[in-house]
Subunit: 769 residues, 2 copies
């Protein structure tokens, strides 16, 4: 009896403990914030007064309960700004962070928000929600970090807007080292991953799930209902490197990358939307490595990426691959997907490199083809017939094709035994969503385990009535995938109203140009009356502006600044367009250069109709600096010591200084060294960038002092096109050495007394791994 | 209303379908058996009449249900013998095989019993129970196969007795290729795995779970409550190569091997008994490779294996290991284990081979030490103090030691900060089971996830009252681990009453010796009266017998058979002991040889007190033949062309012809070539066998015609001891070349005009993988 009473008392005590015991704590400055976060008790509700909190290292620690979580939230969501050198570390249970805005700064640590305090003190059942992290970049591109790093288990990253990461390192990573972080069941849901600019090399993923060193661990992370908009960091948007993850109902909108099962196995990629435009070949789909993945119910619209970026890229593996390389694809299921106007959507043997056996060690040769893989119940629709819906970079002889159909507008195609050609129309549900409308029955293939595919892309049941393709017939409605109110922080929108640019007219009166540049708003145009503008110190460009001649007659800017300084100093965010201007130097300065350090964000440069003469460098880009695009067109470059130099990324880790370097209809005369110098180093099949186009241009009497004997030096750049140029009297051994194994081509060039264009099939490169 | 009626009718129909509808089918001969098995329907009960069924390839196929399984069973369990070239393939659902005895034959296929018929037609929810497979060996050792191969899911192998496999290949293997065989939840339970003789090389596991090629797949196989008795096939008794397996409450009794997590991760090894004898160093424990294993509640008694065979062997991995080699150990938990009189039970960095970097490729160097590993709540008891309970082949700096205790009888030991020395006694529960009796409280360490360890080795709850060690204090009773009625087929026992051997006396009257050998029973002794026995054809030895002189004066056997034939022809099962006899040949025959083909079981040879003269070979062992032991002692070998040759396993896959070659107190005189020739080839860290002891012997004027210039040629043999011998006037360059990196030693040898004994630290070997 006594015992019973004791038990009842204990039970009552437990029940009472589980009651809600909220206590509100208001903090108004950094030290109060730090104190309250560090000493939080179950039920505490810490309210941060609106305002700017600078240089705060918040350690949010406490043991909340399901009933009595600990909440750290903005007084008004979005009105609490975390700035400067700040960070947030979370450890304990049932902690919630809500409504913070990280901006104008960077983290002093390896992450901005980390779900642990020490190796063992991780967070569990905790969440960061309704927050924004914007442009919170390290000062240097190679200062890699993460913006959100998840440890522990059952944590949630939900309804956040996260955008603008330019430095190295995935935006979000789930870490699994230690049993405290496996089987984590984290939920990364309802977030808006806004634009992540091209990084120029590897380590620019938006989400990474584990690493090759934890690729054997069960992660069970869910990434669902997120919008990925222009996530262009690198070839992998999501890099899944662990097991049993679920990637479901996300929208990949004009994002230059793919969802990749890079390491780990048994990942489900279900009901996602991949939206391209039929023009940009950088938008990718799903790339598969390893075992047991299920690619089901996905929709692809106008994804025309090739090879690594194809809508479905099944890779070749390395036989008995090292842990950090490419395992063979086995036991994969690709079922119930729909492809609309996506060129050559199914590519097999992607990454095969048997041809490069001479320059690669055996442990790098991807010769192991997919095994025991099933491709079934898929639909392809092409408005314009595609002769190669299937591309076999290596044979797909380990793949079983069942019950796939295609409307190819009657155009014949290879591998027709693998896809049944037929006729059907599409139903338009919204701007990007067109679903097949099948008027006759097509049998559904029931492979092993297919009964576990219970729903279609819209969540409709496949159990009651089933059909092939991403959507069950007859139950379609617009999924409103681009309704941005469904994603991210409730209080933040990245939709910007298009503004009409101001045109600021200036004359060559002293200081007028400098003042206009300083006062211009992003997008403004500065129009120079004709005349000569003497500039005595570098013009700092730290926003997006255009400088151009007001009249037909070109204004001339004469740079009178010190030697070894640039006329235009391109700072972070400095995107300069310069039209129809003459730029003159003293032969020892730079026309354009960026910062030698602290380039915490990208620059950009477009030069059009300009005449550039007497500089040491036309463009000098330093290490750890990056431009998405550098363009010279309709311009002359005369009597310079060096031309366009984007060659400082010599770490041979796959990095480079610009994604696109375009030179069109330019005349280079007497540029003595480094006429074009553009470099990417390191053997890496997955940074597939660097794009050089040199067209319709003339190079005369250039390169005479270039030590390497090359006029256009673009070693390691993956995509090169040299076409319709004239090379005359350039004292070099080679105009260009093309990399045959990659996408390097030349055509219709005229070479007069100017060395040769040579193709080397395989370049010897340093192994990165 | 109509609809409701329809639904009710359907439900009734379903219910009626689920009722038991047994139909008995009796089969009396092979063709009826084959027919009935192939055309089985739910509810069929196929009864096989007692008798011998020879050369039957049974395909047992059908779709049973849980309510109405399909049963294929012996009329009387154990009275149905499957013999000759026979096999059993099972495909479908809810199939049961019961009471069969596989013997006197072998399978024509890659398995004897396979749980599938075609790649896709696998078995599910099916079982093989109460059967025996005995000595069902392929004709040749290199004809690898499996005796039981599991495919599909939810199958059961229970209460079987399986013993005597001598050919290559694991006895039982679970296969996972294809989604139809992952997450299989197979149950391998209550079996008695009887003696599996040493195989002499790799591919002699008793159970293998998957392979490196499926090491990423979830298997979820349970191996529980089995008795493993003298499972000596190779260094791995159970080789777990997949994920999430459970190895629980098994007894490893005097088995020369270990439970090894060879590939795959997150395996639970819980509550097992490892019973040794304190003498045989081949009995092993648990060897760990890879990530996330939990080694809990296990008991080790007198396990004194070293290095790979130590009670707990934590291996070093290869950094970024290839798929089929050694991943680093991470996130492993070793908790609540008890070690009684087990020498140096904890060994770390096992397999480190940094010293061999010169002869091995980088991808073979095991330099990656264990990380994030916890060793906690364990108890060690030593009757005799052990100065090195922990051996660090490489540093255990990634291992956390918590709350471990040792009674080391006051003897000091290294690493004492990792184990607390204390005093306590043992409680004897039965012959091999002694559990610590703790008189004071020792804190239990609660690591991450330790709350999931709910029971101790006996199944007692750890939740109500907990303590360190395998058994919770105060709740111990004899687990009767060697009560053989708990394991295997109910109708079969491998317990053999010791029989007194018959002594068959023979004289040299023509044919008497031959007749006695033919009629002898295994174990019998044939005693030869003194005199000369002229033997004109090889004497076939196909059982275990002893031949010896009856009197002090040695009988002499003069072999008058053809050249190139053996006096004693050792057939499968032929284990010959020969004592005190003179064997004379014509110089062109063999004294002992085995079969050139079809050696479907092992041979053995012990020669004692014999004088062997004038043979071409003393012993000639052919390829694919194997003896567990070959011994020559107190004998003379004179005027032979060749001596003891066990060197035909030249495939360099780690195989060899005998486990133990012992030569003690022998005189070799004028043996011209191959005096001792014993070979093992192939770089393989996990076949750690070949044992050569040459002691107290004299070699005079031998080796004169040996082309390789070596008197004792033992290249590749791992354990070599050459001690107290005299070598005199042997025209060779080397008496022996020892392998320094392995266990090759020599001592107290006298070399007179006989070449040298040299040590080579690293032998260059062919890579096997």
């Amino acid at each position: 009896m006594k015992k019973t009473l004791l038990i009842i008392s204990l039970l009552l005590l437990i029940v009472s403990c589980q009651q809600k015991v909220t206590k509100s704590i208001v903090v108004t400055n950094s030290s109060e914030l730090i104190d309250a976060a560090k000493n939080a008790q179950a039920g505490d509700n810490i309210v941060i007064k609106d305002g700017v909190y600078k240089d705060v290292e918040i350690v949010f620690e406490g043991e909340g309960t399901e009933e009595n979580p600990i909440v750290l939230k903005a007084e008004n969501a979005g009105k609490v700004f975390i700035e400067g050198v700040s960070s947030l570390q979370i450890g304990g249970s049932y902690l919630e962070v809500n409504g913070l805005f990280f901006r104008n700064g960077y983290s002093p640590f390896k992450n901005v928000i980390g779900f642990r305090i020490t190796d063992e003190n991780v967070a569990n059942y905790s969440k960061v929600t309704n927050c924004v992290i914007l442009d919170y970049n390290s000062l240097e591109r190679d200062q890699d970090n993460l913006w959100v790093q998840l440890y522990g288990t059952h944590n949630e990253l939900s309804n956040n807007y996260i955008a603008g990461k330019t430095n190295g390192g995935p935006t979000v990573r789930v870490d699994l080292k230690g049993n405290q972080s496996i089987r984590n069941y984290h939920q990364i849901i309802n977030n808006h991953f806004g634009p992540r600019p091209r990084k120029g090399g590897a380590r620019g993923e938006t989400i990474q799930l584990g690493s090759s060193f934890t690729s054997m661990s069960p992660s069970n992370t869910t990434i669902a209902n997120n919008l990925f908009e222009e996530c262009n960091g690198e070839v992998e948007i999501i890099s899944s490197k662990t097991n049993f993850n679920i990637i479901k109902n996300n929208v990949f909108y004009k994002s230059e990358g793919s969802v990749v099962t890079r390491h780990g196995n048994y990942v489900t990629i279900d009901g996602n939307y991949f939206i391209g435009d039929g023009v940009n070949k950088q938008f990718g789909g799903i790339r598969i490595v390893n075992t047991g993945h299920w690619i089901i119910n996905n929709y692809f619209y106008k994804i025309i990426g090739e090879n690594f970026r194809s809508p479905l890229a099944i890779m070749n593996g390395i036989p008995k691959s090292p842990l950090n390389r490419y395992n063979q694809v086995t036991d994969v299921v690709v079922a119930y997907n729909t492809y609309v106007d996506s060129k050559s959507p199914w590519q097999f043997g992607v990454g095969t490199n048997i041809a490069q056996a001479a320059v690669l060690p055996k442990s790098e040769i991807r010769s192991a083809r997919a095994l025991r893989t099933v491709v079934a119940n898929n639909i392809i629709y092409n408005s314009v017939g595609d002769e190669t819906p299937i591309i076999e970079h290596d044979k797909a002889d380990g793949v079983k094709f069942k019950n796939n159909i295609i409307n190819n507008q009657g155009v014949g195609f290879d591998n027709s035994e693998r896809i049944q050609a037929t006729e059907f129309e599409l139903t338009k549900l919204s701007e990007h969503i067109y679903m097949p409308k099948l008027t006759s029955d097509f049998d559904v293939y029931n492979g092993f385990g297919f009964e576990t595919i219970k729903h279609d892309i819209f969540g409709n049941s496949r159990e009651t009535s089933n059909s092939i393709g991403a959507a069950v017939q007859g139950l379609m409605k617009d999924p409103a995938i681009l309704d941005k109110t469904k994603y991210g922080a409730s209080w933040y929108s990245n939709v910007v109203e298009a503004a009409t640019p101001n045109v600021l007219a200036v004359t060559n009166a002293k200081g007028e140009l400098e003042a206009a540049i300083a006062s211009a708003k992003p997008g403004d145009v500065i129009a120079l009356s004709s005349g000569t503008y003497k500039v005595s110190a570098s013009l700092v460009i730290n926003k997006s502006i255009t400088i151009q001649s007001k009249d037909d007659e070109k204004a001339e800017i004469v740079f009178e600044g010190a030697d070894n300084t640039p006329l235009f100093n391109l700072n972070p965010y400095g995107i300069l367009t310069i039209n129809n201007i003459v730029l003159s130097g003293n032969g020892k300065q730079q026309a354009f250069a960026n910062l030698n350090k602290n380039m915490s964000n990208h620059f950009g440069l477009t030069v059009s109709g300009c005449d550039i003469n007497n500089f040491d460098y036309v463009l000098k880009a330093y290490k750890q600096t990056f431009a998405e695009e550098v363009t010279f067109k309709n311009s002359t470059i005369t009597n310079c010591e060096n031309g366009i130099e984007l060659s400082e990324e010599t770490n041979d880790r796959g990095d480079y200084n610009t994604e696109y370097l375009t030179v069109d209809n330019c005349q280079f005369t007497n540029v003595k060294q480094n006429v074009i110098d553009y470099y990417r180093g390191g053997y890496d099949e997955s940074t597939i960038g660097g794009n050089l186009l040199v067209s319709n241009s003339t190079f005369t009497e250039c390169g005479s002092k270039e030590e390497n004997g090359m006029l256009l030096n673009h070693r390691g750049i993956v995509n090169v096109n040299i076409t319709k140029n004239v090379f005359k009297n350039n004292k070099v051994e080679f105009v260009s050495i093309l990399w045959g194994a990659k996408n390097n081509i030349e055509s219709n060039n005229t070479l007069i007394n100017s060395g040769k264009i040579k193709t080397e099939e395989n370049l010897v490169m340093k192994l990165m791994y």
